[in-house]
Symmetry: C3
Subunit: 346 residues, 3 copies
């Protein structure tokens, strides 16, 4: 591929240098392969970009204007280098293709299931009774579907996933390996010092365009449904307990835990290792910083940006953090001024 | 099913309204299906209950006495609506039934194993040498049992679980999908800047009536056993390291991590994302709030209720949290009164 | 086995007592089996060791000199009892042996793969196209390898692991059950309130002598490689995001989460439940205490020992923790002295 092919594909503004130079591949900025093209979005990478063995660099016009020596590299001017990078990822590396229309011989499909012809079902898959799998969907090797499971169109269920009875996966959903959908919720009641199981008879509904990582757990509702709404993105190792409701297009980063019956609004962002206790209600567009915690039954207003455990407004939390840094000196000053020692009582 | 059938099943106190009304199903309070019966335990749901399309409501006598208009709904008086809900879950939704006496053709059982006839073994299960599986037990598809594994009576091992060599699972145990029992403990010793593996030759013992969630890890002991005692309930994504001992009927909520050789007493509750370091000892009936942390070798007395990282008495921790909220204003006051600036030293 | 056999094996210094006494097994210090040998490294276990039914005790010379009555136990003098314990673990319990040269009939290997003859491939394994598996490697039951996966020599991949397309596992690597290598990184860009997927076209490289626990997730790079370098040890339920680089011989304890593009130096230790945000850079030999958090793009110098969230020097963090314990009393004192009430503003 030549630089001018990429220029044309991007419908970019300008080429500086040799448009007929060949490009070996697209490189990330921190691991540049000889002869490749790179996208520089941040000036701090400029120097290393020019010292690298890349053949071509995509950058903003302002960036190019600041440079005196292009060191024989060809420059493509494009006003959003990050967008160019994503577009070229799609253009230069094709997505994994599955041979739709394939049901491997070792796939076991129990009675009364309704499987579209244009699907891929891998080896050692086990599909229970009364399941539905729609057009364009890929079920990779080792997946377990219980009874009465429905998977919509163009979804991809990766290897060794388990989806238990009566769960519903809609269209264009991606589920990472070893994720478990529809395990029993964690519900018990105490009788004479022993925990008795509360039956978990509901299900899980995963709506359109949801992506779920690997080793995630989304438990079935006690009754009714645990719901992951349209466009939600869930990272690896996340726990979503029974009867939760995660609003449209929210982002749940790795190792977040959400306890029973909590409700997350739409377009929220829960950063890594956040914990929501049970019956929490987050409004819309709420952002929770990493490792934040929200206590049982707390309601958080829409558009809040929170941090800490327990979480509070991020600016106040930062004030608190700065103040905490001075705490040893504060105590020393007060003790000196009042000629006393402060001791913890009890 | 009619209201009076439910009345009779519960052996309830009274019916107000039409006892011959038909009931479609049991509904949860936040997702009420037309014609269903609901249980109202908390007055805050009363108004929405009467506005819903439910046909019947189970409530306490005092609650019913406070209501002027039953809006054509039939009321069953029962003094513990939550208990009624759990009883009806069992009554109206049958538990998944497995066809005991089934070993699927694709199940592989290696030499010298002793499998009771009344078990269910699903597809693509792999059972190693010298295993024992007792009466009434279900081993779902894709489960891996190593060699010399014993599973007792009436246990259920869900899809894609791995149980490694010499681990013992007793009676009425439930293990969620993709959980791993008996992976090697995480033990190394350093030689010349490299970590050498300490062999892990012990096992894991899971006693009667334990329930374990999905994607849990319980590591084998270096020597001896990691023990999960009778009636313990473990939620999803929990880590229990080598040589731990979890006391009877304790509850370990999602994403808790317990490091090597720690001991948890009986009837403890570890809330979500709690971390215990190694060689911690918790007494009995200890409660640790969400995201609490306990440092290495710390001992905590029985009946303690703790919070924070490092965890301390919950009332003191709450005092501290309240005080922290005033910290920026405290510093400002002290700085003004003493006409100085407090600065962190070093 | 007699005491003198162990004495000879260890090349120990001295025997006190009957060297012909038989040894039943090696016991851990907290669960001593009748007739066994134990290793006492810590004097606090001495009393219970002598009261136990052990036949022999390995201890330091100084320890033995302090004892008046050996109570008929035979003593082996060895200056490093912990080392003796590890050596005896290897000596007395053999490692699991796999029958190299075995490819189970139910293993499915797609076209054009290059599998050495001296390997063990278990039941219901699925190996994609163009894979390479080298001498001495064990692939346990239910493992899924995508296309173009390479596994080096003498590695062990436990049951139900998934390794996706183009990932590279080198020599003497151990991977625990249900771990997922090479799931797509968690990368999205927003267009009109929806999250669009950034294609993830890189891979994961696991270098020599790495050990990875169970239910771990290591995501593929967007472009280039996520790298786990030689000798790294990773515990269960760890998350390592796309484009991370973990330095040689570092130790990553259970439930640690490392976000995208972060870099960990060599010989670091990240204790349980630590969280690193994205683009963090840790120097070499950095130690982070349990539950510590490091914010986005923070750089930490080599040899730092840190604690807290956000993490800071461990000594300063401990000063802060001690000061926080006095905070309620500090506020009370200041309020009394200045005859005022401190209130949080806003």
């Amino acid at each position: 591929m030549k630089v001018k092919d990429i220029f044309n594909f991007l419908n970019a503004k300008k080429i500086i240098g040799d448009e007929n130079l060949y490009i070996s591949t697209l490189s990330p900025i921190n691991d540049i392969i000889e002869g490749s093209i790179i996208c520089v979005d941040n000036n701090k990478y400029l120097e290393s970009a020019f010292e690298s063995k890349a053949n071509a660099i995509i950058m903003r016009e302002e960036t190019a204007e600041s440079i005196k020596d292009f060191k024989n590299k060809t420059i493509i001017i494009y006003q959003n280098p990050k967008e160019a990078f994503i577009k070229l990822l799609y253009f230069m590396f094709e997505n994994k293709k599955y041979d739709l229309g394939t049901i491997k011989e070792t796939a076991i499909i129990e009675e009364n299931s309704n499987i579209d012809k244009e699907v891929f079902i891998g080896d050692y898959v086990r599909i229970g009774k009364n399941c539905v799998i729609k057009k364009g969907t890929v079920i990779e090797s080792g997946v377990f579907l219980g009874d009465n499971v429905c998977v919509g169109e163009n979804s991809t269920i990766h290897s060794n996933v388990s989806i238990h009875d009566r769960c519903v996966i809609k269209d264009r959903v991606i589920i990472g390996s070893s994720t478990v959908i529809g395990n029993d919720g964690f519900g018990f009641f105490e009788v004479g010092g022993k925990q008795m199981k509360i039956p978990q008879r509901g299900n899980v509904i995963i709506e359109n365009d949801v992506e779920i990582g690997a080793n995630v757990c989304i438990d079935r509702a006690t009754l009714g449904s645990t719901i992951i709404r349209e466009g939600v993105k869930i990272d690896n190792l996340v726990q979503i307990a029974h009867n939760c409701d995660i609003g449209e297009h929210s982002i749940i980063v790795s190792q977040v835990g959400i306890a029973g019956s909590s409700k997350v609004g739409h377009h929220c962002v829960l950063a890594g290792q956040v914990g929501l206790s049970d019956h929490v209600v987050l409004g819309d567009r709420v952002i929770l910083g990493g490792q934040s915690g929200v206590m049982s039954k707390v309601k958080i207003e829409s558009n809040s940006i929170m941090l800490g455990s327990p979480a509070q407004d991020i600016n106040r939390e930062k004030l608190k953090m700065i103040a905490e840094q001075k705490l040893p000196e504060l105590i020393k000053l007060v003790e000196e001024k009042f000629e006393t020692k402060i001791r913890r009582v009890k």
